[in-house]
């Protein structure tokens, strides 16, 4: 039973990272109807910027301070990059057919990946150990203090985002733009600004997710955003793309599905499928959701946009 609970814990931890990245996909989709495939790569840039800062500062400052500076730098770079991508690649195509921005997004994704390969090289970059994590054992389930911190922070960010979208003036403008950009514009909402803000917010949350991935796995790589992005996109679709609580739910569920599939599929199928089929399950979920419930678990209204 220990093992089962440990797998659940692993799944929730992984899921919290997926959920944060999925938010970036879902917010942009909700407002623009655009699947921003470059979002995973923005997360990657955040991770690599944070790694560079960590290595540059090293042990010159207390570990926590280095971590904060690294996260701050990653957020600044990602927000600037997110705004630039929106301005340069997507804004000119706002009135273009739907396929044009989608293909552009894939192009931007590849551009960011290989720019990162030029800047940071193609090797894996490892994180210097900043804070020595303590072990936490709860009834046979082991986690480290770093992982607990990641989980709590992810939940806090999600709660803060929900609160922000629900109560703030900008949040209201975002919801209005999501419902109908033209009418929102007539009501005095500066939709261009709202869209840019959405990209910036998604990129900032993505940057934090990138730092979390670095903390969790202790390494980064120019290609790391690709698979992470696809998984997060799957999570967003699972929860109902365009729906913010849906992305959170989808992320958590996907993490759990992957963890349990990898842990038990070998035994259930008598060794026919091994744990290397983990990713297959993630994408099987994507296919099933698209076939059976295209609007996702929590998406109702956005069905016509899928």
């Amino acid at each position: 039973m220990d093992i089962f609970f440990q797998q659940i814990t692993n799944g929730l931890l992984l899921g919290s990272i997926y959920a944060l990245v999925a938010l970036g996909y879902t917010m942009v989709y909700g407002i623009l109807g655009l699947i921003n495939f470059a979002h995973g790569d923005i997360v990657m840039v955040g991770a690599l910027v944070a790694l560079s800062v960590m290595m540059a500062l090293g042990a010159s400052l207390p570990g926590v301070a280095v971590l904060l500076i690294a996260a701050g730098a990653a957020m600044v770079v990602c927000v600037v990059l997110g705004l630039f991508v929106e301005r340069a690649a997507y804004r000119p195509l706002r009135r273009a057919p739907r396929l044009a921005p989608l293909i552009t997004a894939i192009g931007v994704s590849i551009l960011i990946q290989y720019s990162a390969a030029l800047i940071w090289g193609k090797q894996y970059i490892s994180m210097p150990e900043l804070v020595k994590p303590a072990k936490i054992v709860i009834g046979g389930v082991q986690i480290t203090s770093t992982q607990a911190f990641i989980f709590v922070l992810a939940l806090s960010i999600m709660a803060a985002l929900l609160w922000f979208v629900k109560t703030s003036r900008m949040g209201r403008a975002m919801r209005a733009t999501e419902q109908n950009p033209d009418v929102a514009g007539l009501m005095g909402v500066d939709t261009t600004r709202v869209i840019a803000f959405t990209f910036a917010l998604g990129a900032a949350i993505g940057a934090i997710a990138g730092v979390m991935v670095v903390l969790y796995y202790g390494q980064g790589h120019y290609f790391m955003g690709f698979m992470l992005g696809l998984k997060a996109f799957t999570a967003a679709v699972l929860g109902g793309i365009g729906n913010i609580p849906g992305a959170m739910l989808g992320g958590m569920l996907l993490g759990l599905i992957e963890s349990l599939a990898a842990g038990y599929i070998g035994d259930i199928t008598g060794g026919l499928f091994g744990s290397n089929y983990r990713d297959v399950f993630a994408f099987l979920v994507l296919v099933l959701v698209l076939m059976l419930r295209p609007s996702g678990l929590m998406g109702v209204r956005s069905g016509d946009r899928a």
Partner: protein, 413 residues
């Protein structure tokens, strides 16, 4: 091994090395220029080829091999060797294969066209294998100083040899080490689903089963993954004494870290793909006490090691990286074969290369019928104080049984 092991070299470092590579090109050119004037015209010139990546991320390893070959040729020329009653002077034909399989075949063709008698190379298995066809077609004997992929000698060519143990020998060595020295009873095996990783793990598993060990879990991941929590949690439930991983360091590093996070107490062992400094960086403190094997003896422990290291340092002003002794010995194996054959014709020396029985810098060299090194030693390293330290050297053949039995006796007493 080679490519995997070195993919982590930072770009900046690579550039610095590439620059130093340019500097290194001077000596062979100078040697060529002075030689004709020094010797009488009736001296026969015998060309020996060497190809390795001397630019790019692996340049330091490639130059190391070329320097080993150059040193051997200089030593041979100093000794004034006669072959078939004729004074000969050896000449090195060096080419850069850029660690690129396509470039390697171009280089191989160039070697054949420049009428070399024998070939030392290449470094990467991915380069040695396609090039081997061209040397085989031309009937030129080829000794790779470093390629460990078993396929290299399995193409059915009579011209391919190597002076390192291959990956197929590593798995069984690791398995016997696990059973006899580590006394592991229950073992979990993970591989990265690549030809290298899965091959290594399969060889390991087969030997463990034959030796009476119990495989409690056999898991697969991929060479792109970094999350092994689910696999490791499952393995934790089986409580093995040892976890073996067939794969390379970008996976091995985080895997060991995640083992520690999950509180897994099992020992950890792998192959040469993870025996890198980068692994230790990726795994952090969790690397301590983990083990990995690599073909060959530690350079300090080679029979001719101390002398060779000093000579190499004096000649090139830097330390041996890895494969220079193998490059040196490959040349010496060829020269010995030429002496026995009384000829420098590739067709005449080829049968003699197969009969080699030579004490080189790396130890005794003899080839089996496939051209693989007989009883090529494999060294197991352990991470101690953040560094790879040699733990034990074993040879894949029967020789292993003796020390193992002794160890068992000691344990009983």
């Amino acid at each position: 091994m080679n490519r995997r092991q070195l993919m982590h070299t930072a770009a900046a470092l690579a550039m610095a090395l590439a620059l130093s590579a340019c500097g290194d090109k001077a000596p062979p050119a100078a040697q060529k220029a002075e030689a004709p004037a020094a010797k009488a015209p009736e001296v026969q010139v015998v060309k020996i080829g060497v190809a390795s990546p001397t630019t790019g991320a692996q340049a330091h390893i490639g130059i190391d091999i070329r320097n080993g070959v150059q040193l051997a040729i200089e030593d041979a020329n100093k000794a004034g060797i006669t072959i078939g009653g004729k004074a000969v002077r050896f000449e090195m034909v060096a080419e850069d294969d850029e660690a690129n399989p396509t470039k390697a075949t171009t280089v191989a063709q160039k070697m054949v066209d420049s009428k070399i008698s024998a070939m030392v190379g290449h470094f990467n298995s991915g380069a040695s294998i396609p090039a081997s066809k061209i040397y085989a077609d031309a009937g030129i004997p080829q000794i790779s100083p470093a390629s460990t992929n078993p396929d290299y000698t399995l193409k059915g060519y009579k011209t391919t040899f190597r002076v390192v143990a291959h990956d197929g020998q590593q798995g069984p060595v690791l398995a016997r080490f696990a059973l006899n020295q580590l006394k592991a009873k229950t073992i979990a095996v993970i591989d990265d689903s690549t030809a290298y990783g899965q091959g290594l793990a399969d060889n390991f598993e087969a030997t463990i089963k034959a030796g009476g060990g119990k495989i409690v879990a056999r898991e697969h991941t991929t060479d792109k993954d970094t999350d092994f929590k689910a696999i490791l949690t499952k393995i934790r439930g089986r409580n093995p004494d040892l976890i073996m991983f067939g794969g390379i360091d970008p996976q091995a590093g985080p895997m060991v870290k995640q083992m520690a996070e999950l509180g897994i107490k099992a020992k950890f062992i792998g192959g040469d793909g993870m025996q890198t400094p980068n692994y230790i960086k990726l795994a952090g403190d969790a690397a301590e006490g983990t083990m990995a094997s690599i073909p060959g003896l530690p350079k300090e422990q080679m029979p001719g090691g101390a002398e060779f290291l000093a000579k190499f340092k004096a000649r090139f002003g830097k330390d041996v990286e890895l494969f220079a002794p193998m490059g040196y010995d490959a040349v010496m194996v060829f020269i010995e074969a030429m002496k026995r054959a009384g000829s420098w014709e590739p067709a005449k020396i080829l049968p003699e290369v197969g009969k080699t029985n030579f004490n080189g810098v790396i130890g005794p060299i003899a080839f089996d019928e496939k051209g693989d090194l007989r009883n090529g030693p494999i060294t197991i390293y352990v991470v101690k104080g953040g560094k790879w330290e040699p733990l034990e050297t074993v040879t894949p053949g029967a020789a292993q049984a003796a020390p193992a039995a002794n160890a068992a006796d000691v344990a009983k007493k």
